[in-house]
Every structure is written in structure tokens, then in C-alpha cells.
Symmetry: C2
Subunit: 586 residues, 2 copies
């Protein structure tokens, strides 16, 4: 320790580190758990959320550290690597530290690449389990979600085949579901573009109800969105009642509770409230829990995992999705509001190379040599690109948090370049630290760890961007201007009409505002790097999730079902039949 | 112990027995395992098949006990109850005993009833885990199976969008899949009749390939059939290559290996080779492994679980699907031939009430009082019905096994009735024992246990019904006459044409013959009880499974996707949010 990541691949580092990974007994000891609070499960045990929270309900929470980033570029900024790195750095300083990240989806894993959280010496293990479904939460959600669709389509068939009296004999009332107004689709956790638009129920009277339907990827399910924001099992159970599956012919919503399937859905999801325990290659504990989309959901690991981590660790690190304009904004105004938890500090991750791209550096084409703007010192380009960093610092500061900028070191960075970023960050009112966790693990993250511990000594006057009383359109206007830097919002007629309805109906008063926007730019236009000026945010529609209680104003298109490419990752994956070891994932 | 099943419901007995269920440490000790051979997993650990088999490869196998039954009736014969009962009885006699049964499917569990294996004091625990997916094998199979379909439909899309040169750039050759000749469908483990016949790939050029498709229930998947007959991981991996997903436009098969998805499928299934450990309410170990259909597959737990059980236990009990004409026939001629294992004895389960129905007793209508033929002594009806029992005894004897008839006692049975069945069984050359395991657990199964131990002292001259060299049509003729009692076989033209092809192609020489026939009668006609006379078996088609290596002659219709009724079980299932306990499953 540390390993040499210039000579070893990530999976080789993982394999070495997994040899000495704590056993269940060692975790019980290390985390101060009662024996029955750890639910063993191969190399990735779960923690019994209900039992631990009951026992520790009066214990003060640890420090709450969020990790966010500048606008991502194809060069990568290393947000998850830094999440692992800060845990390792605090670990090296002798602190009781842990964290929480999202679970990856089988779709991208089988299509684009295998998967890994972090890299080098700042890596999550065990990698195979992490990549292939862990303890089955995504499967549980798939089953619970699809059971609702089974209930819906079967009910439509039975209502078509039976009269009211025959339905009453079965204890059923006619729901009169409008087949042209079904909201919910089915889910599968792969990139199955062929299932995006389908027709089901072909055949005879007992072969279901003939209708148009669709499949989304499981991680885009409303159930996954709910798992990420539920405070506990009671909250999860309550939200599962109100999922709108369709509307009746009068336009009234038909919910999972109307289908009498909500209890059984919760039964399939009963184990998902217990976060799965993984760790860094230096063996700091890290929960992997929930994997919601970052557009129609919070895009970060769960409230449950953070509540648990704050009870068990003196420092609990949690990663947000995408960049600070989306990930931090949702952490700040949605996740923290729902949990009631108050963060102590945010780490804002940046790299010299990514900032140069924001400054106008040339496009990087896969397979071609990287332009020398990125490999040689170029202070002018870097300084220009720091605008994006300063913008993000200012976004975080609006919450009352003074962020720590992590300059995630790369071997082509020059001392002058790193010094420039540091100076800009400090001038903008942030702490800043250069970190070499990829190369050196915790030893490389000591400066960052010290800055974070220092920041955690300060009181934070944490305040939301908008009060819950603020009407929807005003909230969106505020987010667009204060967070994205837009001049204002343009509402499409459909979106405005819906917004007015939601604003006037008290039913939606406690619904969270869940922005849908590209993460590749502060604006809605993915190609606009840096800090776009003189633009207005177009909102074309608003999605509603009745169980999750989200209103999602859409400033961009979203696909809930990605596609499998012509050269998918599954081609290279196999198993060693003598050992059961999976090969080719990474 | 025992509990009073006349006062306690099954789930209450289970809950009590689960309080003292062995811990992982206790199982390690009890089964003589090395510590790393038990993979902890909540209350249902897995056993590491590869490690145990490597360590114990030279240990002699224990005694191999199969449990089968007379033709089932709506009154039930209690096959699984007896499987649990004999384990408990042998346990009470101080023997090192264990067993293996199938895993139930989520489809029936959510539709018809919750689920339970056995009942009363002869019950498998833990019940909730058993009912709701255990360690996720069915989910793993769902994922592996559907990944093949993702690969197929995406490949068809890419071949439609790209020319040969563009395909070659991606390392692909044109498979030229015939969209009108796709064999494989998708799977989901619920009773989703609306997905039986579907159209997928609607939309644009990147929305998949437009084609007709279908969903089956996961437990009917060829992958489940393969898991049940694979000898080890290498065998599983090999079979996963040869699954025929479709045919090209020239009629050549396209396999999972052609799609380069077989390795990744195996990666998703890598953990399924490790059987899950449950136990009886008296804590005898029982593996739950694989849950294949009993028509297109062997319908019984796996070869892997039996291999493992025979190494770990002095007596290993395994249950076959359906009645002896189907379950035992497949155990005898397929499962044992593939495994190379030789059974010591079969237990043939019968009840007085079910035999009376075979003797011509009146139909039983749910919700109406049971006719008094079943509640009062009626030796004439019983004697007539014993024909079915005698037929099944003779079937088992053809394998060289002398069966033990288990008269599964019911409180309405009279001593004269039980004595009659016993006498008939003994006259037919079987051992016989009355057993009260439902009421009394192992204490009630001592007579049965003694008869089984006695039988296990005898040498068995085990012989298959037909040699592998025998052509397909002759095999079917033999099964129809010798096992079902038919006068002969009538081949539909399509079936005969296919049979000739398979007989002449050496590729199919080692394919197993997997009969598809109703289990509700010895014949193909479900309403014919007892021992039907003067009938011929019609074979209308033959299904082929290239990975499992099965040829399935069809003497009946099969549905690979059941339907959800108008009063499904999921309506009554819920979760206690304070404890996470599932309610309403049983």
C-alpha cells in the first residue's frame, strides 16, 4: 500500500485489496455493531437499518460531507475517485470515516464498459459484486415495479371480460382505466431499445389487455426514485401507495393502492432499505445504496444510507450526481429538505484538464492523440476555464456552505497550473487542496482531509434556495437564474398550463421540484461549456411522480431506456469455470 | 416440539421454528464444512459447490432417496410434506440426513396463494425467504436470459442499419437472422398473460428491430432447465453456448455463442451453482436449488444439489415433480443418467382420500362440504383406487428400485383403510409405512424412516428404461406403454417428420427425451383418473432445446406464461413497517 496504478489495472488493485477486506466479524467490531445488525451476504453484507437506527436514535450525527464537481467534460473530473480519496485521507488521519455512493445499473455495465467506482488507489471494492447487482436491490425493484404492471394489465383484462356484478363477486369495483392514458411502463435493467415502444396483450380474451406499452431501465423507475428519498420503511410503504399507474376515463388517477398491489410491492422491496456495505481499497466502509437517475430523481445515494452513516461514522461522505448545478442543487433543496439533515461541507472536484476545456480547449477525439493544450502548461486557457469553477463555488455558497475545492491531480499538471486554480478558488471564498489519491491513496489525500476537517469546525448557516411555499414557476425561475446563470425561463404552453394547475392544487404543495436538464453544460445546450451568458431556460413539459412526490420541469429530453451499441461490453465478459471468477468486466 | 398443527397455522409454526434455526456457525459445525465453504446470506446461506466438491471428491456418497407420488388429485397427496417428514424421521433416528427441493416461482406465489413447502410439523423454513426469491437465483436467470434477448434484438437492429463493411469495422459478421423464425422470448417471473404475445421495436431506426415477440415465466426458461441438469460450472458454461435463439434466413440455428453473449450470461448466473440452505422445522438441512418446469424440463431440484447432498449427508432426500409417471420417469431416465448417480430407494406417497378419488369418488367442489365418501370408511372405493398406486409401484420397480409406499395419514382415515393400502402395496412388492409427520413431525415418521433405512440396506440393480442408442420414437413408445399404460403412440405428421430428422442427425444422439404430458392423469386426458385403459398417446409436436439438450415430445399443450386471476394473492400481502416482517403470504 499504496499500489502502483501506473503499472496495475484497477481490477488488479481491487483483487489485491479484496484479499484483506474486513470479514463480517471484523466489520461488526470496527463499526461497533450488535451482531444481529449486520446481515451477512457473501462479501457484501447489509446493515439492518431499523435495528441500528432504533439503537442509536439518540447518538449525535457525525459530520456530513458532500462531494460535487464542476461541469463534466470527456476528460473526466474524478468525482467518485475523490469520494473514495477523501474517505481514505480521513482514514489515514485516524478518523472514523465512511461514505455512501449509488449502485450502478446493468445497462451501462453490459453496454459501454464494465464498471468501477473510482480508480487507482481510490477505488471501491469488491468490484465484481459492485458491477453485477450486489445484494439484489435492483432486482427487487424490477420485481416490485413489474408486479404493478402485471396487476394493471390483468385488471384491465378482467374488467373487459366481466360485468360489474361479476367484478363485485370478486370484491372488485370497476376502475375503468383509460387504455390511452396509461402512465407506467415495465422495467428491465438492461439497455433494451427494442422494448422502448411495444404493443402487448395480443391474442384472445385471456391473453391480457391489448394496449401500447413500454419498458424503461430499472434505475429510472419511480420505485428507485422513492428508495433514494424514503426516510425509512414506513415512508417507503406510504409512497408506494400513491404511484400513478394510469388515469380512468374521467381523468382521475389510478394508483398502485387502487390496484391493491402496493403491499406486495413493498414485500418485494423489504430488504432494499438495508444498505449494502462495501469499502475503499484502504478498507474505509462505504455504503452502496439506491441508484436513481439524476434527471427525474435525485441522482445520488439514499437518505437512508446517509442517516445510517451519520450515526455510525464521525465523518460521513456522500456523493451527488452530475455537477453542482444539478447534483448539489438537488442535494441542497430536495434531499436535505426531505431528510432534515444539514451538511457541514461540500467538496467541489475539478481537474486542470477539464477546466482547460471549459476555457475553450479543443475537442478531444477518442483514438486520436490528446491536443497539447492539455498536456503542456497553458495558464491562459486554464484561467478562462476557472469561470466554471467559480460559478460552482458561488452556487454552493448560496446554501451557506463554504466549499473545499479539490484539485484532483494529474501527472501533466504543472505546479503553476495547480497554484492558479488554488488561488482562484480561494479568491472566490473557498478552501482548496491538491489531492493525489489516485496515485497514492489516503497518503495522497492528506491535504484535502485537513482542509475538510478544518471546514467541519465551522458552523454552517444552511439555508434552502427557496421556501416550500414558493410557487413552482418562481422556484424554477430562481434555480435557472441563481444556479444555472440563465437570464430567465421560457415556458412552453403545455408546461405553463400544467404549472398553473400544480400551483393551484394544494395536493402538490409538498412535491419536490426535480429539474431535468443536461449535465454537460450549465445551460440546456450540452455543447455550451464554461459559463454560458445571455440565454434563457426553456421548459417544455412537467412530469409528475405521485409516489415519489416529484414535479419534474423538463429543460431537456430524457430517455428512460438507453440503447445497446454495436460493440457492447458483454462481448468481452466471461467466467473462469474452475473458480467462478468473472473476467472482462473492467 | 412437535407443534400442534390443528391449532397453529403453518406460518405460526414456521415463525416458532425459525427462532432456533441454526446460525451460519452452527451449520458449519453441523455439516462439517470449512469456514469459507458456507457463503452467508441473511437467514439462507449458500454452500460453495466448487470448494466442497473439490475437498470431498473422494468421499463415498450417502444413500440417495427419491420421493414421488401417485397421480395427484385436488385432495392432495402431500409429497413435499413427506419429503420434509422423512428427513425429520431419519433425523429423529439420529441419522445425518439432508435433502433438496425446488425453488417456487413468483408467478404462482403472487397469484394463486402465497407459498409453503410442506405443512404442519413437516415444513420448510424460513418461509418468507423461500416464498420471495431466496438468494436471487431466479433473478439471476431472468437477467442472463433477457441479456440474450437484448443482444438478439440489438444485433438485428444494427444489421438492418449497417452494411457488411460497417459491421466488419465493429468485428461483426452478418448473422442474417430471420425475424419470422425467432425461437427465444423474454422472461419475467410473474404470471403476466399480457406479455404472452407482444410486438417490440416500434419507433425509429435506433429503437430496436420491429418484430413479434413473447414473454415466458422465468422458471420455464431454458436457463432454468440447464441449471437443474448441469453437473458443475463448466457444464453450465458449455450449455449456455448452445441455446438456439433464432434461425438465419437459410434455416441455420443462431446461438447465444453467435451473439457473443454466452460468457456474460454465465457471469450473471455465476452464483446460481451454489445451492441455498434452508431446513425443516426440526432443523434438518435442505437445499433449495433450481425450479424448472416439470413438462419441458426435469421438474425437480438440481443435479448439483444432489451431488452436494450425497457428499455431505449419509441420507440425501430429493423430491421429483408431479407423479411417478412424469417425475420419477425423468428422475430415472434423464436426471440419473446425466448425473451418473444411483438411487437407493423411492418413496411413493399416497393418501387414502386421493386413492378414493382414483377409485371413482365424487368430484370435490371448493366451498362445498366434502362428500362423505372421503370422510367415512369406504373400503370398496379405496380398493378400486389402489390401482393407481399399484401401477406407480410397478413403474418404479422397472428401474430396479423397490419403493417404500408412504401412507400419508389424515385424521379421517380408519385403521382398516390404512391396513388395506398397506396390504395392497406389500402385495405389489413394495414396503409400506403409515406416517404422521404432518401431525407429529419426525416422531410421526419413525415407521417410514425405519422402512427407508431397511430398504437402503439392499443392493439396487438400477437400470434405465431405454438405452441412449434407442431411437426417439421407440423411446416414446416404451415410455407410453411401460410407464403410462397406453396401448401405443399416435404421431401427428409434423411430430413424425421432426422425429425422423432428429433420429437421423447424430447431433441429437445425446439429447434427453423430456416428455410433455399432463400430470393429472396417467394419460394425456386430465379427467381420466385411476389407471386409464385402451387409449393411445398422441404426440403432436417436438420441441428442441439446444443448450439443455432436450427433445420434448408433446402429448399435451403447455403454457410457458400463466395468467393472473381476478382475485390474486398479492391483494393480501403487506409488510409490517416497524419490523420489516411480511404478512399475508400464507
Amino acid at each position: 500500500m499504496p499500489f502502483d496504478p501506473t503499472k496495475m489495472k484497477d481490477w488488479q488493485i481491487a483483487e489485491e485489496a479484496e484479499k484483506t477486506m474486513p470479514t463480517p466479524e471484523e466489520w461488526i467490531d470496527k463499526l461497533g455493531l450488535e451482531k444481529d445488525e449486520l446481515i451477512p451476504y457473501g462479501r457484501t453484507p447489509r446493515i439492518d437499518f431499523i435495528k441500528v437506527m432504533n439503537r442509536l436514535k439518540d447518538r449525535p450525527d457525525g459530520k456530513y460531507i458532500e462531494v460535487t464537481a464542476i461541469t463534466p467534460t470527456p476528460l473526466g473530473e474524478g468525482k467518485t475517485t475523490t469520494t473514495m480519496g477523501i474517505m481514505e485521507g480521513l482514514g489515514k488521519r485516524g478518523q472514523n470515516v465512511g461514505g455512501a455512493i449509488r449502485q450502478p445499473s446493468g445497462g451501462p455495465t453490459m453496454n459501454i464498459k464494465g464498471t468501477a467506482a473510482g480508480g487507482g488507489n481510490a477505488l471501491l471494492i469488491p468490484m465484481t459484486e459492485f458491477s453485477l447487482g450486489l445484494t439484489g436491490d435492483i432486482n427487487d425493484i424490477t420485481n416490485a415495479h413489474n408486479l404493478a404492471m402485471v396487476a394493471l394489465n390483468a385488471r384491465m383484462q378482467h374488467e373487459a371480460n366481466y360485468d360489474d356484478e361479476q367484478l363485485a363477486q370478486r370484491g372488485l369495483r370497476r376502475l375503468d382505466i383509460d387504455p390511452k392514458n396509461v402512465e407506467m411502463g415495465w422495467v428491465i435493467d438492461f439497455a433494451a431499445q427494442g422494448l422502448r415502444n411495444i404493443i402487448i396483450g395480443l391474442g384472445g380474451k385471456k391473453d391480457g389487455f391489448l394496449m401500447q406499452s413500454k419498458f424503461g431501465i430499472t434505475v429510472s423507475s419511480e420505485l428507485m426514485a422513492i428508495l433514494a428519498v424514503a426516510k425509512d420503511l414506513a415512508d417507503l410503504r406510504e409512497r408506494l401507495k400513491h404511484i400513478v399507474v394510469a388515469y380512468d376515463r374521467k381523468g382521475n388517477p389510478i394508483t398502485t393502492a387502487d390496484l391493491e398491489v402496493d403491499g406486495a410491492m413493498c414485500a418485494w422491496m423489504r430488504n432494499t432499505i438495508n444498505p449494502t456495505l462495501c469499502c475503499t481499497v484502504e478498507h474505509q466502509p462505504c455504503f452502496v445504496h439506491a441508484g436513481p437517475f439524476a434527471n427525474i430523481a435525485i441522482g445520488q445515494s439514499s437518505i437512508i444510507a446517509d442517516r445510517l452513516g451519520l450515526k455510525l461514522f464521525d465523518y460521513h461522505v456522500t456523493e451527488s450526481g452530475f455537477a453542482a448545478d444539478i447534483g448539489f442543487e438537488k442535494f441542497w433543496n430536495v434531499k436535505c429538505r426531505l431528510s432534515g439533515l444539514k451538511p457541514n461541507v461540500s467538496i467541489l472536484v475539478a481537474t486542470v484538464r477539464a477546466l482547460k476545456m471549459h476555457g475553450g480547449g479543443p475537442t478531444v477525439v477518442p483514438g486520436r492523440p490528446i491536443p497539447e493544450e492539455y498536456t503542456k502548461e497553458n495558464l491562459a486557457l486554464l484561467e478562462k476555464g476557472c469561470e466554471n469553477l467559480v460559478h460552482m463555488i458561488n452556487v454552493v455558497k448560496k446554501s451557506g456552505i463554504k466549499p473545499v475545492v479539490c484539485i484532483n491531480s494529474f501527472y501533466t499538471d504543472t505546479p503553476a497550473e495547480q497554484a492558479l486554480v488554488k488561488r482562484v478558488a480561494e479568491q472566490a471564498g473557498a478552501r482548496a487542496a491538491v489531492s493525489e489519491h489516485w496515485l497514492k491513496g489516503g497518503e495522497g489525500a492528506l491535504e484535502l482531509a485537513d482542509a475538510v476537517m478544518d471546514a467541519c469546525k465551522e458552523e454552517v448557516d444552511f439555508k434552502y434556495l427557496y421556501p416550500l411555499e414558493m410557487p413552482l414557476r418562481q422556484r424554477v425561475e430562481l434555480i435557472a437564474k441563481e444556479v444555472y446563470g440563465a437570464d430567465g425561463v421560457d415556458w412552453a404552453p403545455l408546461a405553463e398550463e400544467k404549472a398553473k394547475k400544480f400551483e393551484s392544487d394544494p395536493k402538490y404543495a409538498d412535491y419536490a421540484t426535480m429539474m431535468v436538464k443536461t449535465h454537460l453544460s450549465l445551460s440546456h445546450e450540452p455543447t455550451w461549456k464554461g459559463v454560458p451568458k445571455n440565454w434563457r431556460l426553456p421548459i417544455r413539459d412537467i412530469l409528475v411522480y405521485g409516489g415519489a412526490k416529484f414535479l419534474c420541469p423538463m429543460a431537456g429530453a430524457i430517455s428512460l431506456m438507453p440503447g445497446t451499441s454495436s460493440d457492447p461490453a458483454f462481448r468481452r465478459i466471461d467466467v473462469d469455470v474452475n473458480t467462478g471468477k468473472v473476467m472482462g468486466l473492467f
